[in-house]
Amino acid sequence: MAEIQKDPLSRILYVDLNRLSYRIEERAELFKEYLGGSGVGIQLLSENCPEGANPLGPENPIIFAVGPLVGHYPLASKTAALFKSPHTGNLGESHAGGRSAVALRMAGYGAVVIQGRSRTPIYLVITSEGVAFRDASAFWGMRSSSSVGSVLRLREEGSGLRSIMRIGRAGECQVSYACVTTETYRHFGRLGLGAVFGSKNLKAVVISGKRSLPIADRKAYRRIYDEIYQEVTETELMKKYHQLGTAMNVNPLNQIGGLPTRNLTSGRFEGADQISGERLAADFLGRRVACSHCPAACIHLAALRIPYPHDPYFYKTLMLGYDHELVYAMGSMLGIDDVSGMLQVIDETEHQGLDVMSAGVILAWATEALAKGLISTNETDGISLQWGDASGYISAIKKIVSQPTEFYRHLARGVDQAASIYGGEEFALSFGGNEMPGYHTGPGAHLGFLSGSRHSHLDSAGYSLDQKSLKEGQPLTAKGLALALMEEESWRQVLSSLVICFFARGIYTPENISQALEAIGRSYSPEDLGKIGEKILREKYAFKRREGFDLRSVRIPGRILETPSSTGMIDRNLIENALKIMTEEYDGSG
């Protein structure tokens, strides 16, 4: 225990943007009970976010939290951000890697709570010395979120040891699905953390530090480290992430009819092969990079050489990150089969600082609404959105941020908002207010989106239940799905509280997590961990209910029931029954 006392994990940094001041609180019990990351984050959110808070008001706190394994073991490399989402009006949670987790841990904090609102644009520099508040007025309105990163990289210290989290114009303009970008290629993507930054006049947060961390049992530590490291680098468990990357899913999903295409009018895209992981690797993969302390290096960067149309012998070479979800949202969902066009849409989305998945789904809805005559080019400010036409989508993305017309002001609030004004709710693909991820594999996937506490495919990975059922020929039942999804989401609370990347979920089992923690002086049995996961999930649901979420009244988009999925037509009754079972479980009445 003496060793743990030297560990700065339980220090929480509270930053007050109203007064431009900060304080540090020791919360050893909180970290002991909830591990860190999501678990500590939901507690801090419940404590600091008043009931019914305006997500874009000064009362909405931003929580960043990491866990004890960060800095000790590979792939404990994520930072959990919790906030009230301006996109859904409910629980906001988003995870990002890059160097964010290591930087925060090395700066000597387990969590940061940012409260209030600065009167003028600022950025924060967080180090072991505390917080510096720096003027960001000159950065406000810069065209690209990347440029802000470039400037701060030169202006601030700590190269290699820091995280530079920043927003683009989308965050400044409080588009409800604006993201926060860190290390250029990682994002707190979903649910609008960028808008919360913008609402606080907070342009960026730079975090850096360098320290050592105590070990309880050196021999055991090295042994467990080596076991995990070897599993990461030498076994099949993570191969897919470091070879083709997640974009390897595109072709197989398409083959089973689970790749949402043209606003989910189909689960198959005839151009899938053109934008697949295989194609991208063969013709565009320019570099692979990693989060700090992750030898898997799953981040795939495409090199795209673009000629300037009117200047011969002038070219620019873009380096753009791609993953399955990006290829889905800015490829198949928009009917784009041309890699260059797809990457240029992604590029604009990155400059503006929007969540790629929400942006893609919203543009897909708008394209269909225009084709159906629900809106006209009057609404779109002259842009004719057409499947496959990248240039129209690039213009629309700019307008979602600059919001020249009422229509774009609605688009900037998400697909639910737009459909509530213009119609087309049956093909507005959102779940609990959050736009759809790239899986139409069957009821498991959609139940996961509907019921997951973040309405994300990462909450409970329902798509894998669908694919398993498809492979093994076992039918999916309401009860089976409900319980399996809850069990998975419950365990994932442990991973996200220890901020272990979900890609390493096959490596970090309850048993070896327990051993890994023991070696650094923290005792938890595998059973203890399981119970903590359940508790955290229940508390997230308690927060959701407090803020008005009801699983029984969540909207099921009609389109998912009309387009055949990988496992066939989806039955509304099955979905509703499963939601009922889950509601009873969360109520404690099941």
Binding site: G71, H72, P74, V102, R105, M106, G149, S150, R153, S159, G160, L161, E183, T184, Y185, K210, R211, S212, L213, P214, I215, R218, Y221, R222, Y225, Y229, T233, R287, R288, V289, A290, C291, S292, H293, C294, P295, A296, A297, L301, M319, I520
Partner: protein, 139 residues
């Protein structure tokens, strides 16, 4: 022949920093303080990475400027450090053109690679390796 840590192919570096963590783990600690190897982006991650580590110079500038012989030349290349003789003047820190002399804030002394190669064992992409120092032969 003595060995040193060589950067074999910096273009294969993914920036995972596993080498940095390994260097500290060698000392029985977690975290990053005490690392004698440093990975940073080459001006933004899109441009790749730089590996900063002692290249075991034959006539090492860091040893040449040491006033107390705490840092002395190692036969065949590189340096040896005797902490007891060090007065923390930071001359070595200034002298290394690679920035490969790191600084221990707590003890106010330099931290320099000891050419053990532990970090290279944790480089999954063969960016770095412990190699014998070859004399440069210009024919």
């Amino acid at each position: 022949m003595v060995k040193r840590l060589s950067v074999i192919d910096v273009d294969r570096c993914v920036g995972c920093q596993a080498c940095m963590f390994a260097c500290v783990r060698r000392l029985g600690k977690g975290g990053l303080d005490g690392t004698c190897i440093h990975i940073q982006s080459a001006g933004g991650i899109r441009k790749g990475f730089q590996v900063i580590v002692c290249r075991a110079c034959e006539n090492a500038p860091c040893a040449r400027v040491c006033p107390t012989e705490a840092l002395v030349l190692r036969e065949g290349g590189g340096v040896k450090f005797n902490a007891e003789l060090c007065i923390g003047c930071e001359n070595c820190l200034e002298a290394c053109p690679f920035g490969a002399v790191f600084w221990d804030q707590e003890h106010q002394k330099p931290q320099i690679c000891v050419y053990c190669g532990y970090c290279a064992d944790y480089c999954p992409y063969e960016v770095i390796a412990l190699e014998e120092i070859e004399a440069v032969n210009c024919g």
